[in-house]
Symmetry: C2
């Protein structure tokens, strides 16, 4: 182990549970986690032992209807939430919409949603559209990440932040900002897209009101896996869902005319659960059993520190785009690179997968569940070779056909 | 063939494509369609040839990012829509919310959303919550299904209907009501939950504005399969999405601060596509290739008429809860039954699967893709035997553990 300070969890046991190509170094698990080996068997079971023979009875007999809360209860300990406070469904943008719309109703006397320029654009788009449609002078106020604490005042209804910046990995101090928001009477909505599964999170201890996140990054639930939503149990009974779907009803199968929200987190459900995706996610979460998040963070820091050190020593044209202090980062690292796009394409063509974020960011994720120190060293070897040989400067690496 | 009037499509070819237990008669495909045999291979391909080896590159290299529109273009001909007018995602309730919120903006001068008491409760819940939150005196006006045409006047902003009643199968005249709505300047939102795959639909020819539907019933996409949304191409450019997620942005991977809706139907996308579910749905749609919907309807009518005739002859305590004229029904049939709940449980225990809808409805779906005349006769045999022997009157059949 790099730190030498203490014995970390033995991550070779988790690596073996992923079907990762042996010739790749995968530094993009912060965008899409790799395939868990147990996913196929879980899907086969869902098809051949559940959907096929049970048909409609699967909702009861295979427990499909309870999947959103059962899977939510497995995610809860990964984000510092109590059982019964997390449910699954839809996508992160929709869960953010649910959380923000509910948060606003808890402070109807205020008009400002405070966010920052490091937030993921979709969160800002969803907030813009909602506030504009609600009218009443609601305002989305966007400040620089460093100015958030100072911008909190008693005009703020909701503080809506993504904890870790998707471009740079810069990490907010959730505990301090949540406390500050609470101190001036604002409701908090945290987006944990780049947090959940990357390091320990303490939603309950911080007193966060709402949190949302996706499960296809560090939680390895697969492309388009369902999102999660957390609501602090102290306020859930005050939440009147704007997305008042039947499966968030207290008794959906009574088909009554009037909506009555389910008790607790169940009211944040909307429509029919995505059973196949939830089953794969549930299988993927098996890998997390017994894995200490503190060790995940410690080893991720060790790997990313090694990467930064090696890149700075061997690739002098690149400059660090992430905070230097690892305590102020999530588990990804960005470097500015003038020719970042073609360099990243060349890296990918040479078996090192990271991603590019405009205008000039090369982004690398360090996920110890399946990455070793050897992987990190290899990735820098390949990067340094590409840069020194200028092998990135080929038409095929400049072509912008990619959508992601 | 029952009708004798003409040669229908040979449905034994479609039945062979489903993994249906041989000892079951499945009359609940209107709730959850059966497992297509090709689903497993498609999932294996998605896992082992795409997600596993491609990882993040699957969004481009496996075409995942285009799945919502590619699958939408396969659904379009089933609902009488032009290519490029349908996209997939989320759940039916969310797609209804999108459609209704967009429809309201097309008539900002009016305040009434007209619907009927036969609409699915979730549609009414979603509309209630949206209208209440938007304020401004918006009103959800609910009339009896037979009164909809008369209730259309120039106060109506949106006519929001489910074409086929989930309880009784009663079917609205989409063409006439859409024309009437248009005549008084109202925007139409049709829910096709019990229509798509049951009979021919002519969205484009009717001039419908918006339509939404689910894919886990007659389209056999699996539990929680993604929903679809159609927007008439004549108005799509006027639609400002309330659910302004990044994947409905014109250039999502520019990560620009400002939302610019994608041209065309793409703006109705919200978040990351549910790839596994879309792949299964895409495979399920293979079964529809070359199947004439007119023949599906003709054979469904033949089967349901046989069922009604036999039940009325042999089960005198049951009374038809559906319109007697098959042209006024979808492809399901309901019977009132005083002890409907335990009778349905007894039916299921004896290998005939329908479902129960409170207060006293026994509901049966007739889907010729996998149902034969022999199946229908067998189901009535079992039903008549259960009723005449009163074998339904056992504690195990009264227990209300079921959630669906």
């Amino acid at each position: 182990m790099l730190s030498g300070a203490r014995i970390l969890f033995e991550f070779s046991t988790t690596r073996a549970q992923f079907a990762l190509p042996s010739d790749l170094v995968y530094l993009d698990g912060n965008s899409l986690g790799p395939l868990p080996r147990n996913a196929e068997a879980r899907l086969q079971q869902t098809l051949n032992a559940e959907w096929g023979p049970m048909l409609i009875r699967g909702w009861n007999d295979a427990g499909w209807m309870g999947l959103p809360e059962r899977v939510g209860d497995r995610i809860a300990p990964l984000i510092g939430a109590l059982p019964g406070t997390v449910t699954m469904g839809d996508t992160l943008s929709l869960k953010l919409f649910q959380a923000l719309s509910a948060a606003l109703e808890l402070r109807p006397d205020r008009r400002v949603v405070l966010s920052d320029s490091g937030n993921f654009p979709s969160d800002l788009y969803m907030a813009d559209a909602l506030l504009k449609r609600l009218g009443g002078g609601a305002e989305l106020r966007i400040v620089e990440p460093e100015q958030v604490a100072d911008a909190l005042d008693d005009s703020v209804a909701v503080l809506m932040l993504t904890e870790v910046d998707f471009r740079t990995g810069r990490r907010h101090d959730m505990r301090a900002l949540t406390a500050a928001a609470r101190g001036c009477g604002a409701v908090t909505v945290w987006d944990l897209a780049h947090s959940a599964g990357a390091f320990p999170i303490a939603l309950d201890a911080c007193g966060a009101d709402f949190a949302v996140g996706c499960t296809y990054k560090y939680l390895n639930g697969g492309p388009g896996a369902p999102a999660f939503i957390y609501v602090n149990p102290a306020i859930i009974d005050q939440v009147t869902p704007l997305l008042a779907g039947w499966l968030g009803h207290a008794s959906p199968f009574d088909f009554s005319r009037d909506y009555e929200p389910a008790p607790g987190i169940g009211r944040m459900r909307v429509g029919t659960p995505a059973v196949l995706a939830l089953q794969v996610l549930d299988a993927a979460l098996d890998i997390w059993d017994g894995v200490p998040l503190a060790d995940v963070q410690a080893q991720s820091i060790a790997l990313s520190e090694l990467f930064i050190r090696e890149v700075e020593a061997r690739c002098p044209d690149l400059t660090l785009g992430s905070p230097r202090d690892p305590r102020q980062r999530g588990s990804q690292v960005s470097f500015h690179c003038e020719h970042g796009y073609p360099v990243m394409q060349a890296l990918i063509a040479n078996g090192v997968i990271g991603d590019f974020r405009a205008p000039d960011g090369m982004r690398f994720g360090f996920t110890p569940l399946y990455l070793s120190e050897q992987d990190v060293r290899k990735s820098v070897d390949v990067l340094a070779q590409i840069l020194s040989s200028r092998s990135w400067d080929q038409p095929r690496f400049h072509a912008r056909a990619r959508v992601t």
